[in-house]
């Protein structure tokens, strides 16, 4: 593949490179070229030498290596940074960053990395960017150095701590310094001091580190100190873990709430057993997909707004489908629950297969806007992901919107009138047929809106709806048919109970327990948590 001359030069170069680094300083070009070595072990050695050189001109090359953008030109064996655009790659010089033209992908070879190399490269970047002007970079650097302690960083870290102005980054740096001492200090006393230093922070990373020290350290005094520190950290972490379980429960509850709240209208208020409810959710998710496709091709810059556009559209699409189903089929079956159940089950299969033939059976990718990706860490390793938080807020907003529509609008008034006493409402001049269709459309539209949210946490496939239909019915029945507050409380309590059971019973058994508990509860209170009081709820 390579010409013999280059091979000879490469061999010479490796010969030179195996000399201890202290004997001669390598230039940045030489260090860069070493990244193109064949084996992972050789590449790791190269990254370690880059870290030791302290030359921050090599940071972009390491960044590109991590991102999978570092290539080797096959003709001269020089690593370059490239961005693939179709079959050609736009090249930049790895050291200066200036553009150096394009090359076809066939003339380049990507420098492959594995997880071990990735960890070491992150640590190296960390060591080289501790003094970066950008606070975010310094924070990442401190974390990376904490995770991968390196020889010779002790003084550098001390200097970094002295200069640091941001309190949070300073404590990150102190942790990194303590981790560095723990890994590299020869004196046991110094290591004990590092343990004491780390014990101040209760994070899972530190528990992990101290756990390994407690098992592996050569000195018994250090081991005991680590074990003592761990007891305290465990206690603090356990507290945060139960807070985390409550949040997870609320989050699962909000997903259940979203899926069920549309059903609370069609089943709870109208009494229609709609087995196609899940498919209306699925249509909402596919609407999101279509909207995002349009955004991707037409307005890639505004991708973050795609969900905002998808919500009303999904409401319209699912709502119109709902109205069509109600006018076409369900209206002829009022008062015959068994037939309704079978007919809507049939509709659900038709909708599934329809989506399958239009969009194909495979999952469709729905991207997350940047404001919904990632997570923030509160304390003690409690991680709250943004998408879950947004969904909790969104579900409550949807519920509030429905409550307002039902209570405060003329349409809501008519809707309640028709469901409470159809004959009377009709004789007051309300067109009950039209109200039925609109109510069903509202419930279906809400299902579509739920689909937009669910597309962010579940996969968008024709089977999306099936996994939610049983849970939705469970929530509505448990909460009390015809009562929105019941649906809210039902969803949240089912979610939280589920999440507290899961660690003990496992996901499968946990679900079974919840199901049995709900069945027993319904035996005691057939109308659910909040039964509607009054005369005429039965249809």
């Amino acid at each position: 593949m390579r010409s013999p001359v280059i091979a000879a030069i490469a061999a010479l170069l490796t010969l030179v490179l195996v000399l201890p680094a202290s004997l001669r300083a390598e230039t940045a070009e030489e260090l860069l070229a070493a990244l193109a070595a064949d084996g992972f072990n050789e590449k790791i050695a190269a990254v370690e030498r880059i870290a030791a050189s302290g030359d921050d001109r090599l940071v972009p090359a390491l960044d590109a290596l991590l991102a999978g953008d570092l290539y080797v030109r096959k003709d001269d064996n020089v690593p370059v940074i490239g961005k693939a655009q179709g079959s050609t790659v736009v090249l930049r010089d790895a050291l200066s960053g200036s553009e150096i033209g394009q090359a076809p992908a066939a003339e380049l070879e990507k420098i492959r990395i594995n997880n071990r190399l990735r960890g070491i490269a992150r640590g190296a970047i960390g060591g080289l960017t501790l003094f970066s002007a950008d606070p975010a970079k310094r924070r990442t650097a401190a974390k990376a150095v904490f995770a991968a302690p390196q020889e010779g960083l002790y003084e550098v870290l001390q200097r970094a701590i002295e200069r640091e102005t941001d309190a949070d980054i300073r404590s990150q740096l102190e942790m990194a310094l303590a981790a560095d001492r723990l890994a590299l200090a020869a004196e046991p006393a110094e290591r004990v001091a590092a343990v004491a230093m780390l014990a101040k922070f209760a994070t899972p990373d530190i528990r992990n580190l101290l756990g390994s020290v407690a098992q592996k350290d050569a000195d018994p005094a250090v081991r005991t100190a680590a074990v003592d520190a761990l007891v305290d950290i465990e206690k603090r972490l356990a507290l945060w873990a139960s807070v985390g379980a409550v949040f997870q429960g609320i989050s699962l509850g909000s997903v259940l709430l979203l899926a069920a709240v549309g059903l609370a209208i069609t089943f709870g208020v109208m009494g229609v057993i709609n087995m196609a409810h899940g498919e209306l959710v699925m249509l909402g998710a596919y609407t999101t997909f279509v909207v995002q496709e349009v955004f991707r091709t037409r307005f890639p810059g505004a991708f973050d707004h795609s969900l905002t556009v998808a919500v009303p559209l999904a409401f319209l699409v699912s709502g119109l489908f709902g109205i069509a189903i109600e006018r076409g089929i369900i209206r002829h079956l009022y008062g015959r629950p068994l037939e309704t159940l079978l007919a809507t089950w049939g509709i659900s299969l038709i909708l599934q297969q329809m989506v399958r033939s239009i969009f194909g059976p495979t999952n469709r990718e729905v991207g997350a806007p940047s404001w919904m990706s990632g997570a923030f860490e509160i304390a003690g390793g409690l991680v709250l992901t943004y998408n879950r938080i947004v969904i909790v807020i969104f579900s409550l907003a949807v519920l509030a919107a429905i409550a307002i529509v039902m209570r405060k609008t003329a349409f809501g008034l008519r809707m309640r009138a028709v469901t409470q006493n159809r004959q009377m409402a009709a004789s007051m001049g309300i067109r009950t047929g039209r109200i039925d269709a609109l109510t069903f459309g509202l419930g279906s539209g809400i299902a579509g809106v739920a689909g937009v949210a669910l597309s962010q946490i579940d996969n968008v496939s024709p089977n999306l709806g099936q996994s939610y239909i049983i849970d939705s019915f469970l929530v509505v029945v448990f909460g009390g048919v015809g009562n929105l507050w019941g649906t809210l409380l039902g969803a949240l309590s089912l979610g939280i109970v589920n999440k507290f059971l899961e660690p003990y019973a496992g996901a499968v058994l946990g679900k079974i327990f919840v199901l049995i508990a709900v069945i027993l509860f319904i035996q005691k209170r057939p109308r659910g948590l909040f039964a509607l009081k009054g005369r005429a709820v039965e249809v």
Binding site: F40, G68, K110, R112, N114, N115, R116, R118, G119, A147, P204, R207, N208, L209, L210, G211, S212, V213, A214, Q215, K216, A241, A245, Q248, S251, L252, V255, Q352, Q353, R356, G360, P361, T362, N363, R364, E365, G367, S373, G374, A375, G381, V383, T385, Y386, R388, I457, D458, N459, V460, S461, N463, Q466, S467, K499, E502, P503, G506, A507, V508, K511
Partner: protein, 426 residues
């Protein structure tokens, strides 16, 4: 118009008669059954395999068919319904009289059709990696056995390059494949000196979508001071929310690597893989493998499916190898008779798509290379490790004591799929 058509049909009939001698024989075809779910939960994976089979058959017909006859695909839809698989298999064999069947994905569907194939003495090619512990006279297993996927993957994670994992999380969907695989893995890990306290085993229902607790538990389990790795036998749709949760909770592959046995290029197609870079999968084929055969296969597939972005995956390669082997065996035997073709299958060699040669062994399993790949931001896998040569598929695991004794060998003197002694000992 109608007259023209008649005239053309007549001309065609005459042409056919002259070509094959007799009109009756001109219509004779070799029927190939395709038994993959086109609706229901498994349609997501199995529809692709149906399309691959149609492509391979069309390709073979373009080359002139087989034994002078055209191949005719017979497609049925068992709709992800396990008992229906058995009914449809019976229909294919008894009513349509197919010579061979390519089909099934889940182990439970294979177990469902197994008695039918044995009773009617027909032939099934099963293209998916599975839990092993089986060797039927009537099934050829072209996917990986555990020793061709699970065991090498775990060995890789134990190695220096894989991160020297000491603590293991076995996550799976609750059915036969993950449970059996994890049983084998636990026995293997115990044999390597991993204590049971360092193994966490968790099962979830099919289509599980709320992974918050489990991912948080994995993080907690990993916080005990030993390098932890996750082995995932999560199947089907549940993978997408699982990986989304991993990405959102910020589990980096360099801290807790996840190696999956059921996640391939198709599954990643519905996912933003940016946060997942570095997580692993073990297969016998990756689309990113460079070989002339693979380049041609990908080109043909994308042309056939009319989508330049469609990906290829491991079970597709298994069908590719299986179909080519069956064609070769039929040509060698000179007939499609099941008994004759079966004999001709043993030792049959086909170039695989990764630059090597697949061999059919007498235990009905293939010899395959094992590849470990890391997920890339573009939804493809980069091979970071592979076996030096081919690994022979082992039907009965050496790590389960009661299976270790058993041998699968369908040639003389064994002629048996699960025997402790040869059938024809003298």
């Amino acid at each position: 118009m109608r007259n023209t058509f008649r005239a053309m049909a007549g001309a065609a009939a005459i042409a056919a008669t002259t070509l094959w001698g007799a009109g009756a024989q001109a219509q004779e075809t070799i029927k190939v059954g395709i038994l993959h779910s086109l609706s229901g939960t498994m349609a997501i994976s199995e529809t692709t395999l149906k399309d691959v089979m149609l492509m391979l058959i069309a390709d073979q017909n373009a080359k002139g068919g087989l034994l002078g006859k055209k191949l005719e695909p017979v497609v049925v839809d068992p709709a992800s319904n396990w008992p229906l698989f058995a009914e449809k298999a019976r229909e294919l064999i008894s009513k349509d009289k197919v010579s061979v069947v390519f089909g099934c994905w889940t182990s439970v569907s294979r177990k469902s059709v197994l008695p039918v194939f044995e009773e009617l003495n027909s032939m099934l090619f099963y293209p998916v990696q599975y839990e092993g512990e089986e060797s039927s006279r009537n099934v050829f297993y072209t996917g990986a056995a555990p020793n061709q996927q699970a065991i090498p993957a775990v060995e890789y994670l134990m190695s220096k390059d894989g991160g020297e994992a000491k603590r293991w999380v076995l996550l799976g969907t609750d059915y036969v494949y993950p449970r059996t695989t994890n049983k084998i893995l636990r026995a293997f890990l115990n044999a390597k000196g991993v204590a049971d306290a360092d193994i966490m085993e968790e099962y979830t229902p099919f289509g599980h979508s709320d992974w918050q607790t489990i991912v948080a538990n994995v993080k907690k389990f990993a916080g005990a001071g030993k390098k932890t790795a996750v082995v995932s036998t999560i199947n089907g749709d549940a993978n997408v929310p699982f990986y989304k949760e991993l990405g959102n909770q910020g589990i980096k592959a360099s801290e807790i690597p996840v190696v999956a046995f059921s996640v391939g290029e198709e599954e990643l197609a519905g996912l933003d893989t940016g946060p997942l870079v570095g997580h692993l999968a073990a297969w016998n084929y990756f689309m990113s493998q460079k070989s002339p055969e693979n380049d041609e296969f990908i080109k043909k597939w994308q042309a056939f499916i009319k989508n330049p972005k469609r990906v290829t995956n491991d079970p597709m390669e298994a069908h590719y190898i299986g179909f080519k082997m069956w064609v070769q065996a039929v040509e060698q035997a000179g007939t499609t008779d099941v008994n004759a073709v079966r004999q001709a299958m043993y030792g049959q060699k086909v170039k695989n798509l990764t630059g090597g040669v697949a061999v059919m062994n007498t235990n009905h399993h293939l010899s395959k290379p094992v590849l470990i790949g890391e997920i890339q931001a573009n939804g493809q896998f980069d091979t970071v490790w592979s076996t030096k040569g081919l690994v022979v598929g082992d039907a009965w695991s050496d790590y389960i004591p009661e299976s270790k004794k058993l041998t699968a060998d369908w040639t003389y003197p064994w002629v048996c799929g699960n025997c402790e002694k040869p059938k024809y000992a003298n």
